[in-house]
Amino acid sequence: MMRRSACASKKTGQPNSTNPISCSPSDLFRTASSKASSKEMERIDNLFYSFANRSSGMIDPEGIESLCSDMEVDHTDVRILMLAWKMKAEKQGYFNLEEWRRGLKALRVDTVSKLRKALPELEKEVRRPSNFVDFYSYSFCYCLTEEKQKSIDIESICQLLDLVLGSQFRAQVDYFIEYLKIQSDYKVINLDQWMGFFRFCNEISFPDLSNYDPDLAWPLVLDNFVEWMQAKQS
């Protein structure tokens, strides 16, 4: 039954892609632009070390807070989550060098102010329908902090929903959060239920719920939510 979850394998530190800076035959063919890119990489690395924790060699929550205050963005802002996504960061609250490099290189920034200016563009990119599903599922996995953790507690889910979907589906999120808080059938939510809610927001007419069919494959928690809403509305 062991299986790699939809979230990329974590905590083992296996890199998903090779480090672009490692020595390779291409080194022999360095051009001026790659000289410039190695300069950029230097700046990126230096920026990393300016926020990183000396002993662990990673940017920890303190470092992130510090980064956020420099960018004048609240550390609970969704854009930070988006940044983590861009970096494909594995551990919530931490960035390692590889992730940092990946993110900043992709954004083509090497200073804090450039990073701050890149945020609106990043948000636009994330909110594109082709990317958003990936971001949405990433945000769930990002919050799985314990080894072998599969589900997230209700309180955290509510916060996450608000953060990730609140701007797009305000009404659905508000009602669903209300429901989650008063029901007692579920203490945690799993990834399938999390993704199900996103499908729900996209497919089901709200608040009339007229095209919802509980005999279909919707997760049970949503069946119960719809029942609760219908009872409320009558």
Binding site: M1, M2, R3, S5, K150, S151, N190, D192, Q193, M195, G196, R199, P214, D215, L216, A217, P219, L220, V221, D223
Partner: protein
């Protein structure tokens, strides 16, 4: 015939002679029939006139003349003859005139035949025959057909009301309608059949509304059968065969479909009365008659289903009321009667199914659905699964109170298994059955092994091994225990020094087969401690790897009570024995002293002491002698206790296991659902949500009916535990994760 051209007038003059002769023949005047020579002359005249070179090729003119001849004849002779006729006479006249016309056309066609061979093809004009019919159609039929229709319809109506009519005349008349269609049925259908069907509908609608009020159900059915026979006969006598299907359908609809519920539900003569009075013929007629109507049997099966449901539900109601009217100290008496009634009901209606309804699957289904309605009702808090299990238990206890013969027992058990198919919560039945089986095997002496195994194998056959595997294990345990007992006796004989000095038997039960029992850490009397030790020693010589847990609550002890009036043998549970034996050492014991010595929980001890001091047999005297036990009471051996019997059984109060059984079953169901889902996913690998749900329900149907929410909950859980996943692209598909 020379090579000279025949002039038209001349040639036509020859033809006219022949035509006049024909007219005379048709008018019935004295005339000799046409000779061969005469015919040849006429034919050849035409032939020649058509084969002459232009402008003497007279084909077209001859064709026109042919038509004109007919038109003239009709106008001058036929039409006047019809003018002043009415009713049947008109019909007769028309038929005759049409027959005559056909003869005329036949002969003229023979004379003019050459035209048919070449001219009509060349010019693509209608053949002579067709022209003949068309003349009649245009000049006569178009004019008279409404009147003819009226006449025909009124004659049919007369016949329906019982009068005799000239069927041959009608047949001929209606044939005209058919022939006027020139190969199509449209004239017959439009000018006659449509209204005929309408009037038939009206006629039978009127009759039905009258008969339904006046006649009993059997009589009405008889009448309907008769009417249908007559209408079929009508078709074969004078209607066109194509009318039969439409006609019968209309009649069936008016007589049998419109009023079906009113008919079959008639208070004094409907289906329920037919069943009550065992009117097999009438019931068979009902089946026969409705079988011929498309979806007719659905209607009857529906009434049948409702009837059976009402009967069954009435029995349930009866049982419910009887029990609530009476104090509930005769456990299950009314429920026994209920099951008997339902079994009888089943037998009766199965018989009717075979004898009257040809075992048709619609009726089988109706019976099943009816039974499913009332076989799942709760009677006075007791679910039907429990009632059925109690019934079986009652039969298996030494043949029940009526001491039934082996055959009857087998038969009844067979029927019980049949009835179980209608009970939805079969797993509840199984659990109750198991609990009762345990009591029978452990406490009921003389249980019949054969019957026990027989019903288990019947259950297994019908519902599968999961239902019965544990129970089979239980029966085997008891058989093995007997074998063990003889080896134990041998062991004791071979080791006389370890003999505990008491007769005792041990039944070893395999955990998992038997219901779970509460375990008490009871402090045994010393005599019993010895017994336990000895058996343990023996058991270890047989197997080293099993752990024995002693369930004294299931044990029985025989104690000799040395009472003053007379000694009495007391048959008590081991727990009760433990209490009593304390009084061998002390004359008087307080409640707390007893608690301390025995190490039992208060609830259990209070119950035990009650049976020994406050219930039917006061073996112990209680101070104070109130009706209930309190923790401040004290107890003394009652030396004056006596009973007319020399040996008495001191029963324990019955424990209501219902709540626990239902709880246990409810707890197990999610696991069963999980197992079913995993089995299905393992074999299908990929499946849609709908299919998964329906197959899960199907797989579990032999045990219980899971609701969709429960299944969905388990799916959610299995997703979390990584057994299955939802397909990335198709949110309604699931995939098995190996």
């Amino acid at each position: 015939m020379g090579c000279e051209n025949i002039e038209f007038d001349q040639g036509w003059g020859e033809m006219e002679k022949g035509i006049e002769k024909l007219k005379r023949i048709l008018a019935g005047e004295k005339e000799t029939p046409f000779t061969s020579r005469e015919y040849m002359t006429l034919y050849t005249t035409i032939y020649n006139m058509c084969n002459q070179k232009a402008p003497h090729d007279y084909s077209e003119q001859l064709y026109d003349k042919y038509k004109k001849t007919l038109d003239e004849y009709i106008t001058s002779i036929v039409l006047p003859s019809l003018k002043d006729k009415h009713d049947e006479f008109m019909l007769r006249e028309l038929v005759e005139r049409w027959l005559n016309h056909k003869i005329m056309v036949k002969w003229l066609t023979r004379f003019f035949h050459y035209l048919d061979r070449y001219f009509i093809i060349q010019k693509s004009v209608p053949a002579l025959n067709e022209v003949g019919t068309t003349c009649f159609l245009n000049l006569v039929y178009e004019d008279v057909h409404p009147t003819i229709q009226d006449i025909v319809l009124s004659l049919i109506d007369k016949e329906r009301e019982g009068d005799q009519i000239d069927r041959a005349l009608l047949k001929n008349a209606l044939e005209i309608f058919v022939e006027m269609g020139l190969g199509q049925m449209n004239r017959y259908q439009d000018d006659f059949e449509a209204r005929f069907l309408q009037e038939t509908t009206n006629y039978y609608s009127r009759k039905a509304s009258k008969w339904i009020e006046e006649d009993s159900c059997p009589d009405y059915l008889l009448k309907s059968e008769e009417c249908l026979k007559k209408e079929v006969d009508r078709v074969s006598s004078y209607l066109h065969s194509s009318s039969e299907t439409k006609l019968i359908k209309k009649v069936q609809h008016e007589l049998l479909v419109v009023y079906v519920n009113q008919l079959l539900e008639k208070e004094d003569s409907g289906i329920k009365v037919l069943f009550r009075d065992d009117k097999v013929d009438d019931l068979s007629r009902t089946y026969r008659v409705y079988n011929k109507i498309s979806q007719g049997l659905d209607l009857v099966a529906n009434v049948f289903k409702q009837h059976v449901t009402i009967e069954g539900t009435a029995f349930v109601q009866q049982a419910e009321e009887a029990t609530s009217n009476q104090a509930s100290n005769t456990p299950g008496g009314h429920e026994q009667v209920l099951v008997k009634n339902i079994l009888e009901l089943h037998d009766n209606y199965m018989t009717y199914l075979n004898s009257c309804f040809q075992n048709h699957n619609l009726f089988q289904k109706a019976l099943k659905e009816a039974f499913e309605v009332f076989c799942n009702k709760t009677v006075n808090g007791s679910p039907s699964a429990e009632i059925l299990a109690s019934f079986a238990d009652h039969i298996l206890r030494k043949g029940g109170s009526e001491k039934l013969s082996d055959e009857v027992i087998e038969e009844t058990l067979e029927k019980v298994v049949k009835l179980l198919q209608y009970v939805i919560d079969k797993d509840v039945f199984a659990e109750f059955y198991r609990k009762k089986l345990a009591r029978r095997l452990l406490f009921d002496r003389g249980t019949n092994d054969d019957h026990e195994r027989s019903i288990l194998s019947k259950l297994k056959q019908q519902f599968g091994a999961p239902l019965t595997s544990k129970m089979e294990g239980m029966v085997t345990d008891v058989v093995l225990a007997k074998e063990h007992q003889s080896s134990f006796q041998e062991y004791l004989r071979n080791n006389p020094d370890v003999h505990p000095g008491l007769d005792f038997t041990v039944t070893v039960l395999t955990t998992g087969f038997w219901p779970s029992y509460k375990w008490f850490d009871l402090s045994l009397p010393s005599e019993m401690v010895k017994c336990v030790k000895v058996f343990k020693g023996f058991y270890e010589t047989k197997t080293k790897h099993r752990k024995l847990t002693w369930i004294f609550s299931l044990g029985t002890s025989h104690i000799n009570g040395k009472f003053e009036p007379k000694p009495i043998e007391l048959i008590v549970s081991t727990h009760q024995a433990a209490v009593l034996l304390l009084f061998n050492a002390s004359e008087r014991l307080s409640y707390s002293e007893i608690v301390a010595q025995l190490n039992l929980a208060h609830d259990d001890l209070i119950r035990l002491l009650h049976t020994l001091s406050c219930a039917k047999y006061k073996i112990l005297n209680k101070e104070p002698s109130s009706k209930s036990i309190s923790q401040s009471d004290s107890f003394k051996f009652n030396p004056n206790f006596t009973d007319k019997m020399r040996r008495i059984k001191v029963p324990l109060p019955p424990v209501d296991e219902r709540k626990k059984v239902i709880e246990d079953v409810d707890k197990d169901r999610p696991y069963a659902i999980d197992a079913a889902i995993v089995r299905i996913m393992k074999s299908r690998k990929v499946i849609t949500h709908q299919q998964l749900i329906s197959e899960t329900i199907e797989q579990l149907s032999r045990m219980f009916k899971p609701n969709i929410k429960a299944i969905k909950k388990r799916i959610e859980d299995l997703i979390t535990r990584d057994y299955i996943e939802r397909d990335r692209d198709n949110s309604h598909m699931f995939r098995y994760l190996a």
